[in-house]
């Protein structure tokens, strides 16, 4: 199977610190992968390298075989890598519906239009579909910042979905949530990824949640890949048990 997203010998150093150490990973189309690892393992750095926020010191990031290294974040977004943030990153004066409409118009490259009306009617169908998909429809008219913590995270993901990405990167989608809320969030993400045939990569701390849903798990430590495999393989992996699961217990 050819990979949708491929990281080839990715390397990033900040001065003397190696944040990403020779990381090579493949992510198959339409899969849900988890990235786990202790704090400071370089998980968010990896996302920053993929999305163009940071430039790798060496190595390649291939989306369907095309190298993304050196492109601007906006260009990488347009090529099909969407991203949601650890702390929900929203537009505080926009309603839920208007935020999504803006994202859809951005996708359609219609945001430069100085004559038409915003939000207008062009994006309505698309916005309705995403509202339905993410379960935010009943909150459409609310202001972004009036939402609960969980719904703000969901809106953040919805914004990324509005771009119709091929790959969706979710940085701790369940951060700050209780166990049940987190489970519901991950199930929602699982559902969306299945329905949209998305390649989803998410960072997660809660092992139990990861093992329940992800098809593959990658473990990072000190910026390097410690192990990868199915949840069952990872659970039984001696190095992982020693380095991570062991220390959790």
């Amino acid at each position: 199977m050819t990979a949708r997203l491929q990281l080839v010998k990715l390397h990033k150093r900040f001065g003397g610190v190696v944040a990403t150490d020779n990381v090579s990973l493949d992510f198959a189309p339409s899969t849900l992968s988890a990235i786990i690892g202790p704090n400071g393992a370089g998980k968010t750095t990896l996302f920053n390298l993929i999305t163009g926020r940071l430039k790798p010191s060496s190595g390649q990031v291939l989306l369907d075989g095309k190298d993304l290294v050196g492109l601007e974040p906006g260009a990488i977004t347009r090529l099909g890598i969407g991203r949601a943030f650890q702390v929900a990153s929203l537009f505080k004066t926009f309603s839920v519906r208007d935020s999504l409409a803006a994202a859809v118009l951005s996708r359609q490259r219609a945001l430069g239009d100085m004559v038409g009306n915003f939000p207008g009617s062009m994006a309505t169908d698309h916005v309705d579909r995403i509202l339905h998909l993410t379960g935010l429809a009943h909150l459409a008219q609310r202001g972004s910042t009036e939402l609960s913590h969980g719904d703000q995270k969901l809106l953040d993901i919805a914004l990324a979905l509005a771009l119709e990405p091929k790959v969706l990167l979710l940085d701790e989608p369940t951060a700050g949530m209780g166990r049940n809320e987190a489970r519901a969030m991950l199930e929602r993400i699982h559902q969306v990824s299945q329905r949209e045939k998305l390649t989803v990569i998410f960072i997660e701390h809660d092992m139990e949640l990861v093992f329940g849903l992800a098809q593959s798990v990658r473990v990072l430590r000190y910026g390097a890949v410690l192990a990868e495999g199915t949840p069952a393989e990872i659970r039984a992996h001696p190095a992982v048990i020693a380095a991570y699961l062991g220390s959790e217990a």
Partner: protein, 326 residues
């Protein structure tokens, strides 16, 4: 946020122009026309600046660069080239927008206070150039000696009534265009940049390019305001491009309110009225303006129109809940 339609804006604009004409017929004193003309140029200047400050979140302290450049270029063209008013007007817009592209390209790379100070620094350079290059700009005297106003299309700007209607029309047309821009998808992308530039970038918004567009459009309308002023005073003077002029622009925005399209216009009205009341009676007009700003900033914590809009919103919300719970 903005449910404006172009048709409605155009109709309202036409009504305003007609009302201005009727007002002039009813009480056409030179005093009234003077106030209206100052409102047209100052109000447009403030609204143009608010496209950056209020809508894009770029606190520019250099808007007077383009106001001054517009006035100087237009006056020079009229004095030296023998062109008609429409072509000089058009050439000035083109010339100053080129300047705005250069200045904007340098400035929008920076954010926050660095952006603000860079715009201020470039403005001071421009001001110094106006003072120093006296063979061309008239130095500290400015461009005196009058501004020829040949009639065009049956409009004679030496006729006070013609000039009054011309200014009001230019003002209204500019506001209709700016309002359209603010209500458009482009306007929405500017508000996205203001709210969260980082997120906008990851949604594929070309943040730097759109900031530059906003900068140039804003400068263009500051240029129009500068041209109106130079026609009004028949010349161009260095204080047009001085930092105090930019300060006045920010003052009007703060006073009237940055989140309402017409806030800066209200700010301009208040500034002009205060100026007129105070300059007649008191020498220390800075003292009074300072007190007013203190009152607005500490008392209302937002501009007058924003304050009123908030009161109105909470009132209608309360009466809506009352109706739903009889």
């Amino acid at each position: 946020m903005h449910k404006a339609s172009l048709l409605r804006d155009v109709i309202v604009g036409i009504i305003v122009v007609i009302a201005a004409v009727l007002l002039n017929m009813a009480i056409g004193t030179p005093m009234l026309r003077d106030l209206a003309l100052r409102l047209c140029s100052l109000g447009l200047f403030a609204v143009s600046l608010n496209l950056l400050v209020g809508y894009t979140g770029l606190l520019s302290f250099g808007q007077a660069t383009f106001y001054g450049a517009g006035a100087y270029m237009f006056t020079l063209l009229m004095q030296k080239s023998g062109l008609g008013i429409p072509s000089a007007f058009g050439l000035t817009l083109i010339g100053v927008s080129l300047l705005a592209v250069v200045v904007g390209t340098i400035c929008v790379r920076l954010t926050g206070v660095y952006f603000t100070f860079l715009t201020l620094a470039i403005q001071m350079m421009f001001y110094s150039m106006l003072i120093a290059w006296s063979s061309f700009t008239g130095g500290e005297q400015g461009l005196t000696g009058g501004l020829p106003k040949p009639p065009f299309l049956g409009i004679d700007l030496t006729n006070p009534t013609h000039f009054y209607i011309f200014s009001v029309s230019v003002f209204v047309v500019s506001l209709v265009i700016l309002r359209r821009i603010v209500a458009s998808p482009f306007g929405a992308s500017l508000r996205m940049i203001r709210d969260n530039a980082d997120r906008a970038l990851f949604l594929g918004v070309p943040v730097q390019r759109y900031k530059l567009f906003a900068f140039v459009v804003s400068s263009l309308f500051a240029t129009v305001a500068g041209i109106l002023t130079s026609l009004f005073v028949s010349g161009a003077f260095p204080n047009f491009a001085y930092w105090l002029t930019s300060g006045d622009g920010l003052f009007m925005i703060m006073l009237g309110g940055a989140s309402n399209f017409f806030g800066p216009v209200l700010g301009a009205i208040v500034l002009i009225v205060l100026d007129n009341l105070i300059n007649v009676h008191i020498k220390h007009h800075g003292l009074v303006l300072g007190v007013v700003i203190l009152f607005v900033v500490l008392g209302m914590r937002k501009g007058i129109l924003d304050y009123l809009a908030e009161i109105f919103a909470s009132y209608s919300e309360r009466s809506a809940t009352r109706r739903s719970q009889p």
